[in-house]
């Protein structure tokens, strides 16, 4: 059953790669802020000046952020 040894080696290498990525992520401050990333993705759709004003009182509640400049963060 050398295939097991083989797969374990591969598995450890892949996991090791992810471990390095994890350490990098933590040390580089990727996870320092656990709040704003979740919110920030909601504000990135349109450039206010360019967009035709969409009537927001329509039923389509998903449309967002017409008055939030992208770069104000």
């Amino acid at each position: 059953m050398h295939a097991i040894v083989f797969l374990i080696i591969i598995g450890v290498i892949v996991a090791g790669g992810f471990l390095i990525a994890f350490i990098w992520a933590v040390k580089s401050g990727q996870y320092d802020d656990n709040y704003s990333p979740a919110v920030r993705i909601l504000f990135d759709d349109d450039i206010p000046k360019k967009k035709k004003e969409e009537k927001e009182n329509s039923k389509d509640t998903k449309q967002n952020n017409n008055n939030k400049p992208v770069n104000s963060l």
């Binding site: 097991i4 083989f6 892949v14 040390k27 580089s28 990727q30 979740a38 450039i47 998903k62």
Partner: protein, 709 residues
């Protein structure tokens, strides 16, 4: 610093979305075809291209790699640009990725229809296509990592982490599981044999589910649910924990596909332990997705997109609870080889992948076409039809699986099988197959509504091919809070690259070194196990090519109910020359591991096999096996015999030196004997026909370690 103006590439998003839609229609049509074909054996019009054994791999491959695959790419190309505030790294690479992937799908559909397959589930494609997949995947990777490098947002949102994990792991899995030695352009034998091949395959098979159907769609969930609900994910911290825990646990769970097989016990247990642990991160993710909608349930009532997402995430929770349960040995003893598994995977793919894809495109298409969804009402109808479809699909299969397993295991008080005739256990669950096909039809109707709705939406709007956007380049943003992080990143870059290249080199090195090393471990451990004769070998190739493994297992588990029915349980040492292994994963028909044992329970003479293959319903009018009349008309390819023998020798199968030169003589001798035997019973067939080789193979099955009196 001044904000930079740039453009999102929406054209590529649209193209991938169209591919998703088109292949979705095809993949599910094939699924529907298979759902009917399973109880209407003549549904395939007696054409080899439409037998269940060939349709099923096309269906699974199309659903996974064409429908879900293009869905992944749509999500990645749409969300990455916006999350990182940049256009994709290279338009050219995007194009190559798009068209290359579609060409691979077309090639897969053609070759699988023609019976060109290596028979490893969800990795059936032959070696030239395997190479093409690798190339295109690398191109996708360059494009993705290039985009990451030129991002304008320092923070890498959790969705992107899921995409990265998908890319890395699928690359490794695909390469390792595709180790194979070519015989010709359309035929190869895998490097590993028997139980080792099975282990590698299910390590792949399980992780294909994990890293192709799950992680990228979790990335999709973490982007598109907050966007559709217009509220942040419930807990960003939980999403991070979800990601890392999932990544580290998933890769070890593969052996749960081989419980009670010849795989060493401790490997099975290891697989089970990791499978159970997987419940934690999976449910963390499910809860995170659902709680994102807290306080927004009024929106869910109105909005079909959110409805689809809610059911999708719920299905994710159900499958990821059910999966670990099914990997418990005592549950697996019942569920394995039955329709329960089929129900389980369809909760995942129809519910989780399907519904997220539907929802994503309902939301995304109006946006890139700068219009509104054509009909919300129609989308709501789609939602309800499809939800009912899933229920009508899965519940009967659970019922069928448990019913059939119970019938297989039932003994009379005297200790005999209550249902010794396998067919009885099949006809019992046929009504369940009918309801399943109905459920599938419902789901498919929903898909057609989806296509119509999206088509009308596209017609109403016009594509914003290049969407204008603005963002401040990276260093300025860094002044906010994580400036140190950014500099550290720059410092670490060389190290990161070094690590990455080291991994690549390691993998490359192993690809070269491992083959020579591992062939040695295929040496038999059972003295009486001998290589296949040339005719049996070619017959085995027919067996593989017709996809017999889709309905017939060759793995008798060590239960009394199975040894009573089929004979001595399967040993690991019996399969050492099986490139590829043929354990199978489903018993729509009986197990064939001891088919050839003359004193066995299942033994049938050559003439029976011949007649049964030509017209199964003539032997058993209730049989659901499709007919294979072309096997008596088509010849085996004897030109390839010497090459096949040589490749087998390279793989460590101990044919005598120079045997390849006389292999065809032996082949003809054995074939003549069979065809003479058949003509004694009034069946005239040329010895070179495929059916003769297939009969030779079937009569060999399981005979190595059984001494016939």
């Amino acid at each position: 610093m001044e904000p930079e103006k740039f453009y999102y590439d929406n054209k590529i998003v649209k193209q991938f979305a169209l591919a998703t839609i088109i292949w979705g229609v095809v993949a599910l049509l094939y699924g529907l075809f298979a759902a009917f074909h399973i109880f209407l054996p003549n549904w395939g019009m007696h054409l080899e291209y439409f037998t269940f054994g060939r349709i099923r791999p096309i269906h699974t491959n199309a659903a996974i790699f064409a429908f879900v695959g293009n869905g992944i790419f749509t999500a990645v190309y749409y969300s990455m640009q916006r999350l990182l505030k940049t256009r994709m790294y290279s338009d050219l690479l995007s194009k190559i990725h798009l068209w290359g992937w579609q060409l691979i799908i077309v090639a897969a559909a053609i070759t699988l229809s023609l019976g060109i397959t290596i028979s490893k589930e969800y990795a059936e494609l032959e070696w030239p296509i395997d190479i093409a997949i690798t190339v295109i995947w690398v191109i996708f990777g360059i494009n993705m990592f290039g985009t990451l490098l030129k991002r304008r947002v320092s923070h890498i949102y959790v969705a992107i982490w899921f995409y990265i994990a998908t890319w890395v792991t699928i690359a490794v899995l695909h390469i390792v599981n595709s180790f194979e030695l070519p015989v010709s352009l359309f035929k190869s034998y895998p490097l590993f044999a028997g139980v080792q091949d099975a282990l590698v395959q299910w390590w792949y098979g399980h992780n294909a589910v994990a890293f192709f159907l799950t992680t990228p769609y979790l990335g999709l969930m973490y982007y598109f649910i907050p966007k559709a609900a217009n509220r942040p994910i419930y807990s960003y911290r939980l999403s991070i924990i979800h990601f890392w825990a999932l990544i580290f646990l998933y890769i070890w769970a593969g052996p749960h596909h081989l419980l009670y097989s010849a795989l060493p016990e401790w490997v099975q247990s290891l697989g089970i332990v990791f499978s159970i642990m997987l419940i934690a991160p999976s449910w963390g993710g499910m809860i995170n997705g659902l709680l994102t909608l807290r306080g927004a349930w009024d929106k869910v009532r109105e909005d079909p997109v959110l409805k689809l997402y809610v059911v999708a995430v719920t299905c994710y929770g159900m499958s990821t609870f059910e999966g670990p349960m099914m990997s418990l040995k005592w549950v697996n003893a019942i569920s394995h080889f039955t329709d329960w598994t089929i129900g389980h995977v369809h909760i995942g793919v129809l519910g989780w992948n399907g519904f997220l894809t539907f929802g994503m495109l309902y939301w995304l298409i109006p946006r890139i076409f700068n219009t509104k969804l054509y009909s919300t009402k129609l989308a709501n109808t789609h939602f309800w039809i499809a939800t009912l479809g899933i229920l009508f699909y899965a519940i009967p299969l659970y019922f069928a699986g448990i019913t059939q397993a119970s019938m297989w295991k039932q003994f009379t008080p005297e200790g005999f099988l209550v249902y010794p005739n396998f067919l009885e256990t099949v006809t019992q669950i046929l009504p369940m197959y009918h309801i399943r096909a109905f459920g599938g039809s419902l789901y498919y109707t929903g898909v057609l509504l989806w296509v119509y709705n999206l088509y009308k939406t596209m017609k109403a709007g016009s594509l914003v091919a290049n969407e204008e956007a603005e963002a401040v380049p990276l260093p300025v943003q860094e002044k906010k809070s994580t400036s140190e992080g950014w500099h550290r990143f720059l410092e670490r870059k060389p190290l990161l690259f070094l690590t990455a290249s080291l991994i690549v080199i390691l993998i490359g090195g192993m690809v070269e070194i491992i083959p020579t090393y591992f062939i040695k471990s295929n040496v038999p451990t059972i003295e009486s196990v001998k290589p296949y004769t040339p005719l049996e070998l070619l017959g085995r190739d027919v067996y593989v090519s017709e996809g017999c493994y889709n309905c017939h297992s060759q793995m008798i588990r060590p239960f009394r109910s199975e040894t009573e029915r089929y004979g001595e349980y399967s040993k690991g040492g019996e399969a050492v020359y099986n490139h590829p292994f043929q354990y199978g994963s489903k018993r729509t028909g009986p197990d064939l591991a001891r088919e050839g044992v003359k004193s066995g329970k299942l033994y049938k003479p050559d003439s029976w096999h011949y007649n049964h293959m030509i017209d199964p319903q003539k032997i058993n009018d209730k049989s659901i096996m499709p007919p294979y009349p072309w096997l008596a008309k088509k010849d085996i390819n004897m030109r390839l015999t010497p090459k096949k023998i040589r490749v087998m020798q390279t793989l460590g199968v101990p044919y005598p030196e120079g045997y390849d030169k006389i292999a065809n003589d032996d082949l003809m001798k054995q074939a003549k004997k069979i065809s003479d035997g058949l003509s004694d019973e009034g069946i005239d067939v040329e010895p070179t026909r495929q059916i003769v080789a297939l009969i030779a193979y079937l009569q060999r099955l399981g005979t190595d370690i059984i001494v016939d009196k």
